[in-house]
C-alpha cells in the first residue's frame, strides 16, 4: 500500500511534466490543425537555456527558490521568443499550402533544433545546477514527497490555472477560441489572426520551457536529444485526451505519467514505452476523438 502511494506520487510528478508539454501540442493544433513536432525540442531548449542562465547569473552557486523562479522565467521568455520565431520563419509562409507541407517542415525544424543543439551545446550530457536542494517535504503514509515534487505540482497547477484564465476569461482568449473555431470567420470579425497564432506558439513554448527547467531540477542530466521521447509521449497524451482540448491534454499527461510508472513498477520497465502506445490505440478504438474530444461532423 505504501509502495502504491509512492508510485502514484512518482507518476503524478512525471505526468505533470507531460501535461505541460501536451498543452503546447493541443494549443497549436487548436489554431492551426498542425502537429508541431518541434515542440519536444523546444522543451529541450527550455532546459538548456535554464542551465546557461543559472550559470551566467551566478545563481548555480547560490541555491534558492527565488533563483530558480528567475531562471525558469528567463527560460520561458527565451522559448516564447523561439516559438514566435519558428512560427514566423517556418510555418507562416506555408499556411496557405497543403497541410502536409507544414507537417514535413515541423519534422525539419525538430531535426534542426536537435542537431543544431548538438553543435551548439555539445552532445555530452550536462549536469543541471541544483538551484533547490532536494529534501523530503511531506510524508503521506509511507510515501515521500520531495520539495521538488511539490514545486512541480505547484508550478504546473499555477500555469494551468493561468492558462485557463487567459483562454476563458480574457478578450485575447476569446479571439484565440474564435480562431480555433474558424480562421476565416475570425479574420472577418476583425481579429488579427497572425498575432493570435504567434501568441499561441509563444504560450505553448513557454509552458514547455517551464517543464524543461523543472525536469532539469528533478533529474539533473540534460542533453540535446532529451526532448525526443518526452515529445512523443506528450503528443500521445494530447491525442489521448482529445487533441485541441485543454483539460484533455492535462488528463492525458497525468494518465500517461501514472500508467508508465505503474507499468515500470509492477510489470517491467522494458514494456513501459510500448504500453503508452497500446493505451493510445485502445482508447482511440473506443473513443476516436480521445477521452475529452467531441467528434465534429464535417458539413459538405
Amino acid at each position: 500500500m505504501d509502495q502504491l502511494a509512492q508510485q502514484l506520487v512518482n507518476g503524478l510528478a512525471w505526468g505533470s511534466i507531460y501535461a505541460l508539454i501536451a498543452l503546447g501540442y493541443t494549443m497549436v493544433y487548436g489554431v492551426l490543425r498542425l502537429i508541431n513536432f518541434a515542440h519536444g525540442d523546444v522543451y529541450m531548449i527550455g532546459a538548456m537555456s535554464a542551465f546557461y542562465f543559472a550559470h551566467w547569473l551566478g545563481l548555480a552557486d547560490a541555491p534558492s527558490l527565488f533563483g530558480f523562479v528567475v531562471v525558469m522565467g528567463l527560460a520561458m521568455l527565451t522559448c516564447a521568443l523561439l516559438g514566435a520565431l519558428i512560427e514566423r520563419a517556418a510555418y507562416r509562409p506555408l499556411r496557405r499550402q497543403p497541410r502536409w507541407a507544414m507537417l514535413t517542415t515541423a519534422i525539419g525544424v525538430s531535426m534542426l533544433l536537435e542537431y543544431g543543439g548538438q553543435a551548439l551545446f555539445g552532445p555530452d550530457p550536462k549536469f543541471f545546477p541544483q538551484l533547490i536542494a532536494s529534501a523530503p517535504a511531506l510524508r503521506l503514509g509511507g510515501a515521500v514527497v520531495t520539495n521538488i515534487d511539490l514545486l512541480i505540482f505547484g508550478v504546473s497547477l499555477a500555469l494551468m490555472l493561468g492558462l485557463r484564465w487567459l483562454v476563458y476569461g480574457t478578450r485575447v482568449g476569446m479571439a484565440l477560441r474564435a480562431v480555433s473555431v474558424n480562421v476565416d470567420a475570425a479574420s472577418l470579425m476583425g481579429i488579427n489572426v497572425n498575432t493570435i497564432i504567434a501568441m499561441t506558439f509563444m504560450i505553448g513554448s513557454a509552458l514547455a520551457a517551464a517543464a524543461g527547467a523543472m525536469v532539469g531540477l528533478r533529474n539533473p542530466k540534460i542533453e540535446p536529444l532529451m526532448g525526443l521521447m518526452p515529445g512523443i509521449k506528450a503528443f500521445v497524451a494530447a491525442v489521448l485526451g482529445g487533441i485541441g482540448n485543454f483539460p484533455g491534454a492535462v488528463a492525458g499527461g497525468l494518465l500517461m505519467g501514472v500508467t508508465e510508472t505503474l507499468v515500470a513498477a509492477y510489470i517491467s520497465s522494458t514494456y513501459r514505452d510500448a504500453v503508452a502506445f497500446v493505451i493510445l490505440i485502445a482508447v482511440l478504438l473506443v473513443r476516436p476523438a480521445g477521452l475529452f474530444g467531441t467528434v465534429t461532423v464535417e458539413k459538405v
Binding site: Q3, W14, N219
Partner: protein
C-alpha cells in the same frame, strides 16, 4: 536477334573521359601508396556523446604512451602515428569509424573501444579485414569471441561480476541483494548474470531484479519497488550518467543502503552528478591511483604533467596500457603485417602494465588483478586487490 545499337558518342568525348579516368586512377594510387616512414595505428572511441569521458580518458592515456614510444625512437625504426575517429558513443558509428581507419587510412592495427556494445559492432569488420583489434576496456566475454584477431587489455565480466558478489557476501555480509540492470547494454546484462550466479552460490538472496534503458532519467518506479523489498545492498552495474542519477533518486526515496557497481561508475562525473548520494558506493575497477608500485606512480606523475594536474581514471590507464601492449607486440613481431602482430599479441606474457602484470590467455583476454574501490569524500579510495585465481 540484334541488340539495338547504342547512340554513337563523338569520339573526342570518349577519349576525354578515359583520360580523366586515367588521371584519377594515378591520383588515387599516389594517395593510397603506403608511406614507409611511419607506422599507423587506428583508434576509435566515444570522444563525444553519452559516455564521452570514457573515450576522452582512453585517448589521453593512449597519446601519453604514444609520446613515450616516439621519444624513445619509435618502432622498427619508424615513427608511430595514431589516427583517431569519434563514434559519438554510438555502435553504428563505430562500424563506419573502423572501416574508415582500415580502408582509407590503412592502419596496421586498431585500438578501441571501451563500451562492449560498440566493440562488438566494430570487431567483425576488423576480423574480416584481418586487422588486429585491441579493446582497452570492453569486459563482455562476447567481444573476443568474434574471432582470433580480437584482443582485450582488461579482465572480463565473469571475473568482475563474481568478484563483486564475493565481496558483497563475504565482506559486507549482504544477505538480501537487489539488482538494477541497464537492459539495453551488453556490459550491464553480462555483469548482472555473473554477479547473480555467484551471489546465489554463496547463499545470498536476490530480492529484486529491476531494469532500465540507457538514456533514461527517471528511475523512481523501479527504486520504489526495490525499497519495498528491503535489501542490504543494491547492485547497479551500469554507466556513470545513469548510475549517478539512480543513486540520487534512491536517496530521495529514503533508501540508505550502499550501492555496488562495476568499472562503468569510474568517471569524475559520477561524483559531480551524484554528489553525496554516491558516497559509500563500492565498485570493481582496473586500477587505483593509491597503488604504490613505481610504474603506477610514474604514470600518474607523467599524466598530471601532460594534462594540467588531472588524476587519471581507469580508462586513461587502460588506454595507456593498450597502446604500450600494441607497441610491444609490433616490436616483437618485427613487422606491421596483421597476422604477425596478431601472433605477437596472443603470446603477450607478464607484460608490466600500470593496471598490473598482464598475460593473454587462450581466449585473448588479459589476465590480471582486480581492485575494489569505495567512494569516500568524493574520491575513489582503494579497499583491496583480488587476484584472478580467486575468481
Amino acid at each position: 536477334m540484334t541488340a539495338p545499337t547504342p547512340p554513337l558518342r563523338p569520339l573526342g568525348a570518349r577519349r576525354r573521359w578515359s583520360r580523366l579516368l586515367l588521371s584519377l586512377a594515378t591520383l588515387l594510387c599516389a594517395c593510397s601508396k603506403p608511406t614507409t616512414d611511419e607506422i599507423r595505428i587506428g583508434e576509435f572511441g566515444s570522444l563525444t556523446g553519452g559516455t564521452a569521458t570514457f573515450g576522452i580518458s582512453t585517448h589521453e592515456g593512449l597519446m601519453l604512451a604514444l609520446d613515450e614510444i616516439n621519444a624513445s625512437g619509435g618502432l622498427l625504426g619508424k615513427k608511430v602515428t595514431v589516427i583517431t575517429e569519434d563514434n559519438q558513443s554510438k555502435p553504428e558509428e563505430s562500424v563506419t569509424a573502423v572501416l574508415k581507419l582500415i580502408k582509407q587510412n590503412e592502419v596496421a592495427a586498431v585500438i578501441g573501444e571501451v563500451a562492449s556494445s560498440r566493440s562488438l559492432a566494430a570487431a567483425p569488420q576488423c576480423q574480416a579485414n584481418k586487422i588486429p583489434m585491441l579493446s582497452p576496456a570492453s569486459t563482455n566475454p562476447k567481444v573476443t569471441q568474434v574471432g582470433d584477431y580480437i584482443f582485450r587489455a582488461c579482465f572480463i565480466d565473469p571475473f568482475q561480476g563474481s568478484t563483486m558478489a564475493r565481496f558483497a557476501v563475504d565482506r559486507l555480509h549482504a544477505k538480501r541483494i537487489a539488482i538494477l540492470t541497464d537492459a539495453k547494454n551488453d556490459y550491464s546484462v553480462g555483469l548482472t548474470e555473473f554477479f547473480k550466479a555467484t551471489a546465489k552460490q554463496l547463499g545470498a538472496e536476490i530480492v529484486a531484479e529491476e531494469s532500465y534503458a540507457e538514456g533514461d532519467i527517471e528511475f523512481k518506479a523501479q527504486l520504489t519497488a526495490i525499497k519495498a523489498t528491503n535489501p542490504d545492498v543494491i547492485y547497479a552495474p551500469g554507466y556513470y550518467t545513469e548510475c549517478a542519477l539512480i543513486a540520487r533518486q534512491a536517496r530521495e526515496l529514503g533508501i540508505e543502503v550502499p550501492f555496488l557497481g562495476g568499472d562503468g561508475w569510474d568517471s569524475p562525473k559520477t561524483v559531480e552528478i551524484g554528489g553525496k548520494a554516491v558516497e559509500g558506493t563500492y565498485i570493481t575497477n582496473h586500477y587505483s591511483p593509491e597503488d604504490q608500485r613505481p610504474e603506477v606512480q610514474k604514470f600518474i606523475a607523467d599524466y598530471k604533467a601532460k594534462y594540467g594536474g588531472k588524476t587519471p581514471d581507469a580508462m586513461a590507464v587502460l588506454g595507456y596500457d593498450a597502446m604500450r601492449m600494441m607497441a610491444d607486440a609490433i616490436r616483437r613481431a618485427g613487422s606491421t603485417d596483421g597476422d604477425k602482430i596478431r601472433d605477437a599479441l596472443a603470446t603477450t606474457k607478464d607484460f608490466s602494465g600500470v593496471s598490473g602484470h598482464i598475460s593473454m590467455d587462450a581466449e585473448r583476454n588479459a589476465q590480471k588483478d582486480i581492485v575494489v574501490l569505495q567512494i569516500r569524500d568524493g574520491q575513489f579510495r582503494f579497499v583491496e586487490s583480488i587476484a584472478p585465481t580467486a575468481g
